[in-house]
């Protein structure tokens, strides 16, 4: 995972980096609250919710937490301008082989463009208690 990131960075110049750590219990608490539907709708795209679904129809809080961490890590990579963005502005999507990448909303893409960012590399991980993500923005 890290080797892949390093390999990509050798080819492209990094212009921003972000990292974030999320407690899975926080996400699980939000999912258990009476406002769970609103929470899911406001923060995660339909594709993200689908990617985090368990075979029995529930949503895996650890995988959601990793996606939340990716959003925060992307905002950090984008800098102060990202304060104007919402939670749905950055979406984690899965490639054909399951590899994660980021899809940006139009306002987030405009900020990235203004900074000269053309691509993002993202890496996610989760354990039962914590989920984390690293995002590297490159030209």
């Amino acid at each position: 995972m890290v080797q892949k990131l390093i390999s990509r960075l050798r080819r492209r110049r990094a212009v921003g980096v972000g990292i974030d750590l999320v407690e899975v219990a926080d996400v699980a608490a939000a999912l258990a609250s009476p406002r769970a539907d609103r929470y899911l709708e406001l923060v995660y795209s339909e594709a993200e919710r689908r990617d985090c679904a368990t075979p029995d129809g529930r949503v895996d809080p650890a995988r959601l937490a990793a996606r939340f961490a990716a959003k925060e890590a992307a905002w950090k990579a984008l800098g102060d301008a990202a304060m104007q963005l919402g939670w749905r502005s950055v979406e984690v999507v899965r490639g054909r082989h399951g590899q994660p990448s980021l899809r940006l909303s139009a306002p987030a893409a405009r900020i990235a463009q203004s900074l000269g960012i053309r691509r993002f590399a993202v890496s996610l991980t989760h354990e039962p208690a914590y989920a984390a993500a690293v995002v590297v923005a490159t030209r």
Binding site: D20, V22, E23, D26, V27, A29, A30, S33, R35, R38, Y39, L42, V43, F68, K71, E72, W75, A82, M83, Q84, L85, G86, W87, R88
Partner: protein, 80 residues
């Protein structure tokens, strides 16, 4: 009164390492230790407390960065 209710929500859902009651109105809540995920819980609790729904365009991190900014967002939604 509105600010007191905001502080109550922050004390319950903001997971701040400091007392919400003692925070200046313009203090940056993220700098004070509120995590990004806690800010979502704060937003949901504010909707419940004030019986409002934040529209998409108001759901930015900056809208929830201080008691002042939260108060201004609620005022826009008609909360006095």
């Amino acid at each position: 009164m509105k600010d007191e209710r905001i502080r109550k929500v922050l004390a319950t859902h903001g997971r701040l390492p400091v007392e919400a009651a003692g925070l200046p109105d313009d203090a940056n809540l993220y700098s004070a230790g509120m995590t990004s995920h806690a800010s979502v819980n704060v937003m949901l609790a504010l909707e419940e407390e004030f019986d409002v729904e934040f529209p998409d365009e108001m759901l930015t991190r900056s809208a929830f960065e201080s008691i002042d900014s939260i108060s201004a967002a609620l005022t826009t939604l008609g909360v006095e």
